[in-house]
Symmetry: C2
DNA sequence: CTTTGATTGTCAGGACCTTGACAAAGCATG
DNA sequence: CATGCTTTGTCAAGGTCCTGACAATCAAAG
C-alpha cells in the first residue's frame, strides 16, 4: 500500500521547465563557443545593447547572477574591449564599445537561430501561450516575497 | 537608421524561460533550506525514489550535472545516511535508505507546494499546454545532436 | 542638517561544479 | 577469442559563482 508520490517527475512542470532551460543553455553554449563568448557574457552584451547605461548591479539582476559575480564578469568584458564603464555617483554604468556591438551582432544571430530551432514545433499562437504562461508562473512565484 | 535587434529580450521565449526557471529555483531553494537539503540534493532523492537502482552516471544526467559532480554529491548523501550504494559491475547503483525516504517525503511536500504556487494562475488545459510546449522545445533542441 | 536605511561596488574566503585524465568494466564487431 | 569503442567511477586542478563583510554613496525621514 505505497502511496502515490507528491511529485511525479514525468508530469511535473517544474522538472520539464528545468530540462528545457538546460537544453537551451547547452545548445546556446555550443553555438556561442565559436564566437568566444560564454552564455553569461552574451547575456551581458544583449542586456547592455537593449538597456544601455545599466549599472553593474542592475546588469547582475538581469543576468541572474550576484553583483559580486558581475564584478568579475564585467572586468573580463572590459579587458576584452567589449564594454566601457563610467562612474556615476555610486553606480558604475556600463556601455558597449564598437567592438562589443559588432561581436554581439554575430552572437545575437546565433542565439536567434537557437531560439528558432527550439520553437520549430510550435505555431505563433502556441508560442504566445508559452510566453504568457511562463510570465504567469514568474508572477505567481514573485507574490510571496 | 538603427536596425531592429535579432533578439528582443521582452519577447524572447528563451529569456523568459530562464527567468521562470530561476524564480522556481530560488523559491525551491528557500523552501528546502529548512529541510537541510539543497535543490541538487532534493533532485537526487526524488529521482532515486521514482527510479530506484539508478547508477551514479544516470542520476547525474537526471539531475543535470556531470558524473564527477554527482560523485561528490552522492558521497555527501551517503555520509548523511540518506542513500546506500551497491556495486554492480562497473556501475554503482544507489538507493534511498529509510531515513532518506522519510526526509524526501517532507521535502517533496514542500516542492509540490512551490509548484502549485507557480501554476496558480493557470487552469488544467493551460498547464497541459505548457508541459507539452516545453516538451516540444526539448525535442526540437535534441534533434541536432 | 542629521540620522537612519537602502543600494552599490569591492575584497576575501569558501562552496560547488566543470574539464581533463586515467584505469576498469562492459559491449560489439571482426 | 581478440580488438576497439563506449560507459562508468574516480582523482586532480581549475574556474565560476556564492556568502559574508566593509566603506562609500544616495534617499528619506526626523
Amino acid at each position: 500500500m505505497s502511496q502515490a508520490p507528491q511529485v511525479e517527475l514525468d508530469r511535473s512542470v517544474g522538472y520539464i521547465l528545468k530540462r528545457a532551460q538546460s537544453a537551451l543553455h547547452n545548445a546556446l553554449e555550443a553555438r556561442l563557443r565559436s564566437h568566444g563568448l560564454s552564455v553569461s557574457q552574451y547575456a551581458c552584451l544583449e542586456l547592455l545593447a537593449q538597456r544601455p547605461g545599466l549599472s553593474q548591479s542592475e546588469l547582475a539582476r538581469g543576468a541572474f547572477v550576484t553583483r559580486q559575480a558581475m564584478h568579475q564578469l564585467a572586468a573580463g568584458l572590459q579587458s576584452a574591449g567589449l564594454i566601457t564603464s563610467r562612474d556615476d555617483g555610486r553606480a558604475r554604468r556600463l556601455q558597449l564599445t564598437a567592438v562589443g556591438k559588432r561581436k554581439l551582432r554575430a552572437a545575437s544571430r546565433a542565439a536567434a537561430a537557437v531560439e528558432g530551432e527550439m520553437l520549430a514545433g510550435l505555431d505563433d499562437a502556441q508560442r504566445r501561450a508559452l510566453h504568457d504562461s511562463l510570465a504567469s508562473c514568474i508572477d505567481s512565484l514573485a507574490l510571496d516575497r
